[in-house]
Each structure stands twice: as structure tokens, then as C-alpha cells.
Amino acid sequence: MSLFLRLASVSVVLSILGLAGCASRAVEARPGQVAQSSAGPLDAASATLIVHGMSCPLCATNVDKQLLEVPGVADASVDMGTGQVKVTFVPGASVTRKQLEDAVYKSGFTLAEVRIP
């Protein structure tokens, strides 16, 4: 095995070990400013989610696509500058905080906060 390949192999192994050692899962969602439990329906017409990691327009599309699949969500609009995702509910819909958390989780980003007006 050439010196180049040896160095490359060592580099890869060290990277994997080092990263695994200090790795953690994605930043866990911090408690939001909402009094309701995750399972209970949100008593509001809309909610604002603070989402981290939306680094590009195409990335951000994953967030609103997932949120729009939540039953009772009428609209989702992303502000990439602040990470705010404004979610509007269908009148009378029973959307829970957990449904919103799950949608952001599936989108591949990190939910930092849920704000209810």
C-alpha cells in the first residue's frame, strides 16, 4: 500500500473516531414558549416555529413541504434570515405541538422553539 493510501486511511479512521467520540444527535428542541402539552391541540390560529439549519432555499422547501402534510395546516411560510416559519392553521383544526415537532424533525432540520401568539 502506498504512503498516500496509508495516510488517507489513517485520516479517515481518525476522523470517524474523533467525530463519533464527540458527536451528539442534532440539537434537541428546546422547550417552547407554549403552555400546552405536546399531545394536546394548540389553542391558536397560527404558530411560529424557530428552525435552525435552513442554509439554502432548496433546503427550506423540505420544511414547508413537511408542515403542509400535517392535517390542519393551511399554510407555512419560511423566513430564512431569522429561521422563523409561520404556520397558519385551518379554522377549527386541532393541530398539536408534537405534530409540528415531528414535521420539522422529518424535514431534517432542528426545531429550536415554538411560539404561540
Partner: protein, 277 residues
């Protein structure tokens, strides 16, 4: 008349829908993937010219390759990709001229992204591992006629307007033609070492009105083959990314070329299209 026909066919294939995600340069992997249950298609249309063939064939080769990659988000951390390259090539050499049209070997792969730190609304650092195999599905001698597994890892960091991707990929070539003409597809194993830097030209700051972004990309795409060949291409490019699609263009020019077991790459031109659905 045959060449225009083949070129038109390859170009038509290049217009097929394709999947790609942001902050991913043209020829360097990134630790990005579609979200759970979503599809992403990416189409790359490449024109490349190869010359200085050391084999008795002394070939000069032109190729147009339309590569379609379809990716599905299995879960938040896992995605699956199938890649199908369609090729039209024209060879001139001492053994005569030969035109080909068909497919190279297709590949199946999985990408697992266990490490992710989303530091702010925009900033993110991620590490992914991927692996798969090239299957002997190619047409005639465009196939290696062997199952060639590969493994790799990629690191992605996006900090403000700057993005960097660093990838290493090792392919175990279990077959391959002694007189192979394509980089990385000969009888020797292949180590790809790729680096990409992306700079967001516009907008300078994201806002609620942002619907698209434009990036300058700069890549160093290296290929070391265990037979001793080593080649590095430098690749400036541009990437335009909207909410559901992206367009890209880049050129690859050799800056390091220590190749004596296959033809050398003269240059590579790439156009790409990505679509998320």
C-alpha cells in the same frame, strides 16, 4: 450524421428531471439529502475529452454522459439513491474509430447522516457516511462486468455565506478492462478525494422574501488509483438555487496529472439540474 443524433439523445436525457440539494457543488458529494418521504432527482450532463492514451489503442475520446440520480429520503438520517449514467462516446485510435451509445454501470447507494449540528437559522455542520455498489448493468464494453462496492464519508459545513464539503470515497474495482479508458473504472481500486467551496453571491442576507440564491463554486476533484495514477481537476462553477430546483454549470481542468495507465482527462464541462418533489 451519427454524432449529432447521439448528442441530441444525450442532451434530451439531460433534460430529464433530476434531484439535488443545496450547498452541494457539482462534482463533490455533500452531507445533504431530501427529507423523509421526499424525492430528489439530479441530472448531470457532462462533456469530456480524454487523450494521451498509453495503451496500444492510442485513443482520443469524446464523451457525453447524462447521469440521472434519483434519491429518496428514507428517514431523517438515511437516504437511498439509484444512479443511471447514459453515454454517447466517440473514439479515434490506431485500431480504428468507434462510436458507442449505451449505459455505464448503474449504482445503488445509501447515505447515512448521523452527525448534525444546526448552529443557527443558517449555519450547519454535518457528517455523513455512504456506501453502495456499481452493478454490472452497463451496455457491452461500457460495463465493467463486475460488482464494484464503494464506501465514503463526507463533511459539510455551512457558515453564513460560506460552505465547504470534503469527501473521501474508496471504490473496490473487482473487474475492469486492462485498456480501460475512464478514470476510476480500470482494474485498480480508486480513491476519490474531493473538496468544494461555495460562496453565496446573492442574496447577501437571507430574508422572508428570499426565494433563490446564487453561489460561486470552486472544486478540487482528485482521483488516485492503486496502480499509481493520480489526477486532480480544478473546477470553478456557478449554482443557482430556487425553492424547488437548482441549475449548475462547471468546468473541470487538470492541475495534477500523473497518469500512465489510461487516457488523461483534457477537460470536463458539466451542466446540471436538480429538482425536489
Amino acid at each position: 450524421m451519427r454524432r449529432p443524433t447521439l448528442t441530441a439523445a444525450a442532451l434530451a436525457l439531460g433534460l430529464l428531471p433530476a434531484v439535488a440539494l443545496a450547498q452541494e457543488a457539482t462534482n463533490t458529494p455533500a452531507a445533504t439529502q431530501p427529507s423523509q418521504g421526499k424525492w430528489y432527482v439530479r441530472e448531470k450532463l457532462q462533456y469530456m475529452r480524454l487523450g494521451d492514451d498509453p495503451s496500444p489503442h492510442d485513443r482520443e475520446i469524446e464523451e457525453v454522459v447524462a447521469t440521472t440520480a434519483l434519491t429518496y429520503g428514507v428517514s431523517r438520517e438515511l437516504s437511498a439513491t439509484v444512479t443511471v449514467p447514459v453515454v454517447a462516446s466517440w473514439e479515434e485510435g490506431h485500431m480504428g474509430d468507434e462510436d458507442r451509445f449505451g449505459t455505464f454501470d448503474s449504482s445503488l447507494s445509501l447515505k447515512w447522516r448521523p452527525l448534525q449540528w444546526d448552529l443557527s437559522p443558517v449555519d450547519s455542520v454535518r457528517v455523513a457516511f455512504f456506501g453502495g455498489a456499481e452493478l454490472p448493468t452497463g451496455t457491452g464494453d461500457l460495463s465493467s462486468h463486475s460488482l464494484d462496492p464503494f464506501v465514503g464519508t463526507v463533511f459539510t459545513a455551512i457558515l453564513g455565506r460560506h460552505g465547504i464539503n470534503q469527501s473521501l470515497q474508496y471504490k473496490f474495482n473487482t473487474g475492469g478492462d486492462e485498456f480501460n479508458m475512464r478514470p476510476g473504472d480500470g482494474p485498480d481500486d480508486a480513491l476519490r478525494y474531493d473538496t468544494a467551496y461555495l460562496f453565496r453571491l446573492a442574496p447577501e442576507q437571507y430574508s422572508a422574501d428570499t426565494t433563490a440564491a446564487t453561489y460561486l463554486t470552486f472544486e478540487l476533484n482528485g482521483l488516485y488509483e492503486t496502480g499509481g495514477d493520480n489526477e486532480v481537476l480544478i473546477g470553478p462553477g456557478i449554482l443557482y438555487e430556487a425553492r424547488t430546483f437548482a441549475l449548475e454549470a462547471s468546468v473541470g481542468l487538470p492541475v495534477i496529472q500523473d497518469v500512465d495507465q489510461r487516457p488523461e482527462t483534457d477537460f470536463v464541462l458539466t451542466l446540471g439540474f436538480r429538482f425536489l418533489f
